[in-house]
């Protein structure tokens, strides 16, 4: 290959990496350099080998790996000495996205817009703090579905504060270490050098307590309408005290929202959340959603350190057998399954819906989640 040609190829590869980044791959600078080095090696002669070499250098997950061949074809469909201009053409396609998501936003943001409207109205009277402790006690016990519009802002503030306190308590709890009596020879000897080699202090080491992982599956179907918003907040608050929290929403389909919740600013996260396509207020297929979770994320997320939390009322329109089978699969992988059911707060509720009855044998903790007090009580199970 002549020098001019190889320079041309290098320019095309840089352009190609930019194209990949636009398509959502993380072909960053370091990988770009690797790709350039890889193609400079002799032996990567024909086009297929070039594709493989670029694939090995630029991808780093299975998803990227599987997207790559199509993207490669798209970019290099002409001879690779004359690549298409990636920048111009593909900006067009990315601009069409916002338009689509705007429609979606209108379609599915009702849950959140209602909510902001409510809090705006309530913010007029700041003097409400005068309600003091008694109001707080009342609000802690009130069922989320019965919150009056003007109480909403206060309840929200209270919930954030209380839940934050809970995460502090959780993180201060330490597990007793039964290995604390192992002698740390390395440190012991280092220290002994100063005494001329006499072992005076034995240094011991224990095992660091490990934080658990938490996977939350939140029902956002129609029947959960009143609760899902508060429970989402609950999920958000829990993030600070677990090693890792992964949150999924489901109604008939499963949507992962962990990335959105991993931000410092909750209102922003909620706004973005409303733009994500999810079946807000739709039907419920718990079994099917759980199967999706097990298949797509099971190996990665479910392990012996995982506490698995399902927040749902158990009104399932799918097959109860499927739900039971999937829950059994999950149960075998995780440390504990918690099922939080807002309806359990009702005095005469009995878990006899077909879905709930099928699920109960595999659930370790079945608890209510209809008001703040019940959420706070969960701390001892986590």
């Amino acid at each position: 290959m002549s020098e001019e040609q190889s320079e041309h190829l290098a320019a095309s590869i840089v352009e190609f990496c930019r194209f990949l980044r636009e398509k959502g791959l993380s072909a960053d600078l370091r990988r770009t350099i690797t790709a350039l080095e890889a193609t400079k090696m002799g032996g990567v002669g024909d086009r297929r080998l070039l594709a493989y070499a670029l694939q090995a250098s630029l991808c780093s997950t299975r998803e990227e790996w599987e997207m790559f061949p199509r993207l490669f074809e798209e970019f290099w469909s002409e001879s690779y000495s004359r690549p298409r201009s990636a920048s111009g053409e593909h900006q067009g396609s990315s601009q069409s996205n916002p338009r689509r998501s705007q429609q979606e936003e209108e379609a599915c943001s009702t849950v959140f817009t209602d909510q902001t409207g409510g809090s705006d109205a309530a913010q007029d009277g700041d003097g409400k703090a005068a309600f003091g402790a008694s109001a707080h006690t009342r609000l802690k016990k009130v069922d989320f579905s019965e919150v009056r519009c003007d109480d909403l802002a206060m309840l929200e503030e209270l919930s954030l504060r209380l839940l934050r306190r809970m995460s502090l308590r959780l993180s201060r709890r330490s597990a007793p270490s039964n290995l604390a009596d192992r002698v740390d020879l390395r440190r012991t000897i280092r220290r002994s050098v100063g005494n001329g080699g006499d072992l005076i202090d034995l240094v011991r080491k224990g095992r660091k307590p490990r934080k658990n992982k938490l996977v939350i599956l939140l029902d956002i179907s129609g029947s959960m309408n009143f609760y899902s918003l508060f429970l989402l907040r609950f999920a958000y608050a829990l993030q600070s005290c677990f090693h890792r929290v992964d949150t999924f929403l489901f109604s008939t389909d499963l949507v992962e929202v962990s990335d959105l919740l991993r931000t410092r600013h909750l209102p922003e996260a909620l706004r973005k959340l409303s733009q994500r396509r999810a079946g807000w207020s739709g039907g419920t297929k718990i079994g099917g959603s759980l199967r999706q979770l097990n298949q797509l994320h099971g190996r990665k997320l479910l392990s012996r350190e995982t506490v698995f939390v399902i927040l749902s009322d158990g009104w399932d329109t799918g097959e109860p057998e499927l739900l039971a089978a999937q829950l059994r699969t999950t149960r075998r992988r995780v440390r504990k399954i918690l099922w939080l059911n807002p309806l359990l707060g009702l005095k005469d509720y009995r878990p006899i819906t077909r879905g709930m009855a099928a699920a109960l044998p595999y659930v370790d903790v079945f608890a209510p989640a209809h008001n703040l007090e019940s959420l706070m009580a969960l701390e001892r199970h986590l």
């Binding site: 032996g43 090995a56 250098s57 997950t61 390395r186 001329g196 080699g197 190996r299 392990s303």
Partner: protein, 303 residues
């Protein structure tokens, strides 16, 4: 089942295709994309991360590479709680204590004593350190199932993988004379950190096509009857489509073929499969699923 002595091409890694042919001679069927990735390890001296389901020959890649290059294979099996003292180095404490006692009378200063007991002579070399201490030729370092080790260990690996050096606080930094060829494997039980992935080339091993699987069976089980192997291969391919919890990999195909051959039957029918079901289904539920789909049905699909 060590491969019989084989004639390799003179220059085993001239280009990906010659590497692929040499792998085949050593009993490993690699496709061109894997061959390209392995070729790049040897040229760029970058680690290669291989991900894929269990039983598809991830670990085998390192073994074959080592035997092709006629070099040492150093293997580190990862597990939860793996730490530096069992992966990189550890001081020989007993020997250090003895040395301190012996030196007592020797009127050396504390500094001299310290320098003495923290020298190479008192160091246990674990796999990672071994891999960079190789004296004459680059070894192959296999870091197996990296996803099982915890994040702290992953962070420690970063220094090794980008600079091929290990820092021992008491001694200083040890740099590799011959950069090892590093292969990491992962079953994707957890997501690896981005920093680690950025330092690696990447390859995803998927289930093989029937044609490739048959080539593997032929290479690995030379005495196998062609027809029998074909039936087993087709059956396993059909089972993979059932969506089992642990779909059978190539290792299971080979087990199953061996089992069928050991039973001495001339063709694969429902009865034979039932006897060898344990080779393919690795849990009670998976076995039940295969039975529910009907072994005869699967065999019919297969032929």
């Amino acid at each position: 089942m060590s491969p019989k002595p084989t004639q390799l091409e003179d220059e085993p890694i001239r280009d990906p295709d010659s590497l692929m042919r040499n792998f085949e001679r050593l009993g490993y069927i690699a496709d061109r994309s894997l061959a390209t990735a392995v070729f790049l390890i040897t040229k760029l001296h970058k680690p290669l991360l291989i991900e894929g389901h269990a039983g598809l020959g991830k670990t085998e890649v390192a073994k074959v590479l080592a035997s092709m290059l006629d070099t040492q294979l150093i293997r580190l099996q990862c597990y939860e709680g793996l730490d530096i003292s069992s992966s990189a180095y550890e001081w020989n404490y007993q020997k250090q204590l003895l040395a301190i006692k012996i030196q007592e009378a020797a009127g050396q200063t504390v500094e001299e004593k310290e320098k003495h007991i923290f020298s190479r002579e008192f160091l246990f070399e674990r796999p990672l350190l071994q891999s960079i201490l190789a004296q004459d030729v680059s070894p192959v370092l296999l870091i197996d199932e990296i996803d099982r080790a915890d994040e702290a260990f992953e962070a420690f690996l970063l220094e090794l993988l980008s600079d091929f050096q290990i820092t021992v606080p008491e001694m200083g930094t040890i740099k590799a004379k011959h950069v090892p060829y590093v292969i990491l494997t992962s079953n994707r039980t957890r997501e690896l950190s981005d920093a680690l992935k950025r330092r690696c080339l990447y390859h995803w091993i998927d289930y093989p096509s029937l044609e490739k699987e048959m080539r593997i069976v032929r290479v690995r089980l030379p005495g196998m009857e062609e027809q029998l192997g074909m039936q087993v291969g087709r059956f396993v391919q059909a089972v993979r489509k059932l969506g089992l919890e642990k779909p059978p990999g190539v290792a299971e195909t080979l087990d199953c073929a061996r089992a069928v051959a050991a039973l001495g039957s001339s063709r694969v029918d429902a009865e034979v499969i039932e006897q060898t079901i344990g080779c393919v289904a690795k849990s009670m539920e998976d076995g039940a699923k295969i039975n529910a789909a009907g072994i005869n049905n699967l065999l019919a699909q297969a032929s």
